[in-house]
């Protein structure tokens, strides 16, 4: 094992990164929870995202979708400050203003696969930790794939 690897620490084990005003001023990106969206029988997806009190993160920080398509979100601001959310969605980004202790909803249309960002674009909420990921799982449709045998993967 190399010296560098020997010193390596998992994010969750490193004190002061996954909190406000710890080692960092804000909270390191992506250091919150990971949740899988639920899928309805028709393929439409749904999930709940909360802004926890004084944590300045979206919970979950990483929302995983089983595939591209339409997802309905329930949004809760449990913080004692006002935030907002700008979500990616084909056609137009989706925006919602969320005062303290508020509930809202959003509907997003996303292709797959890949990682998409969302954030609270007020003050420096994004830098403090209110930047999240929506990860779309799945593959490219067969008709768009290259005509070649399966290739070695990383």
């Amino acid at each position: 094992m190399s010296p560098t690897a020997a010193k390596a620490t998992r994010m969750a084990d490193e004190p002061g990164l996954a909190k406000q005003n710890g080692t960092t001023i804000g909270r390191v990106f992506g250091s919150g929870n990971i949740v899988h969206a639920e899928e309805d029988s028709d393929g439409r997806m749904h999930a709940t995202i909360r802004i926890n009190e004084d944590e300045l993160i979206f919970d979950p920080s990483i929302l995983i979708l089983p595939h591209g398509g339409t997802i309905d979100l329930d949004l809760y601001n449990d913080d004692k400050n006002t935030h907002c959310a700008v979500f990616p969605s084909n056609g137009h980004m989706q925006f919602i203003w969320m005062v303290n202790s508020s509930h809202g909803t959003a509907t997003l249309e996303l292709d797959g696969p890949g990682q998409y960002w969302y954030g609270s674009t007020t003050g420096n909420d994004e830098g403090r930790g209110l930047t999240g990921s929506i990860v779309v799982s799945g593959d490219t449709p067969p008709e768009a794939k290259l005509d070649r045998p399966p290739q070695p993967q990383p």
Partner: protein, 562 residues
Amino acid sequence: MATYVEAGHASDYTNLSDVVGKAPAVTKKLNYKRILKAREAEPHNWITYYGGYDGQRYSLLDQINAGNVKSLTPAWVFQAGTVGMQSGAGTYSMEASPIVVDGVMYLTGYDGWVWALDARTGQELWRYKHASPYDISLCCGNVNRGCAVAEGKVFVTTLNAHVLALDAQTGNVVWDQVYGDVRAGESATVAPLVVKDMVIVGSSGGEFGVRGHADAFKIEDGERVWRCYMVPKPGEPGSETWPTEGEAWQRGGGNCWTTPTFDPDLNRLYFNTGNPCPDFDGAVREGDNLFTDSVVAVDPDTGQILDHYQYTPHDVWDYDSTMENILFDLDGQKLSAHFDKNGYLFILDRTDCSLVRVVPFVDRITWGEIDANGKVTAKVYPDKEGDPVHFWPGPAGAKEWTHAAYSPKTELLYAPVQDIGATATRRRREFKESIPYWGAGVAVDGEDVAGSISAFDPRTGQERWRWRHDYPMCASVLATAGDLVFAGEPSGRFNALNASTGEQLWQFQCGSGHHSSPSTYSVDGRQYVVVPTGWGGWVEGFLPAMLSARAGSAVFAFALPE
């Protein structure tokens, strides 16, 4: 239990702006017949990517001319900006050629933006934003080169390799087709071209070991018509130029990431193909590697390859030939002109893609030599593992993808020239899908660089004039019947040159470098010259000495004072 205030349902972010929401129905009757005659019948418009199927980037408008261009002033500015995070955040750039139809401008930006603007005022009429994955594979920046319009639709490709048809009045999606595999490293940056009842696109991803292709879809409903691979499978014509054993052809590159030109009389699309892959390690792909680095004539009705001419056989310098093939007639000959990355200007007979003339167009060429008969002799190239090799032109080429122009009035070709070398050190690596597959470490020169706008006589290949610059010229040029050539600089300056002499007649500092394609149009009798600005893209590849130059994302429209 907390009591929540109702925040409602998230709405379109666009609603919180002065976007009008609707554009006039100017493209509803814009069909193939009109596009065929676009330059001559409606010179006030800029209807296709190059301003015409022939790729000349020439306009008949002459209200702005060599005699009055010194009075040219900004008429309006459109600022794009950014919201939140975006793919290749440090690489975004405005690379489009604005399309204009009867007073409405259709424009694309980085990261999935499409806009319709009032071409007279710059007022944003509608916008579309495609959600682009943050982790998409992009070799050369978060960019898009423009859109196509026809029959009430705007066609655009997305970073994640979709081709979309948008309603030209609202920006709403009419149809959406996936035509590339993002998990294989494919993406899309090309401006589509409408031909007959089809929209033609091509793939990006040549640095990731994909198999390049062009695709055609019905403009009505997005139904696929054909796909044409630019690297043949074993047994297909051209496969003899690849190793008979192994997987090289499966990762061979040859992407079509700029717009083809089209000759409706010959019924031929002229595709321009990219580098073979791995870019610099030729030993794993012995042979000429067709149809990489080539012009490939394709039947638009079937997608079948008809002819080709390979500009750089067995390329090991990353010399894509994706830049345009300009179609023009001269002395009874049907010709095409192509300024290649390898530093040579090729004049071909476009009826069969045979060579008419080949001449160098940049001062320093050390990679090899092409004689008057087209015989290629490679001299300097990455060969031994770990052995650095310096050559001119570097991998960005003596001319990048940005486009040249041809004026039928002066009968001259105008090219943005880059005189910049690079050092490549071969470093063999195994292929893994979606991982960059170059086969070398590459450092482009930061010093001892130069550039120019150069004018060439296609009859002789002789250089007629040269407007010298301290930096490589990295943006497309525009030629007009007003005896003008417009050219943007990496520094942000936008210039008008005398088309006959190269004399600089006018200049304006746009604040950020040019890496796009200007166009021109008129509305209510007033001519405008429009140029997107915003330095970015693969700057480390074509001008690393300007890697930290001012970024931006604006569109400037210039006109004479009213």
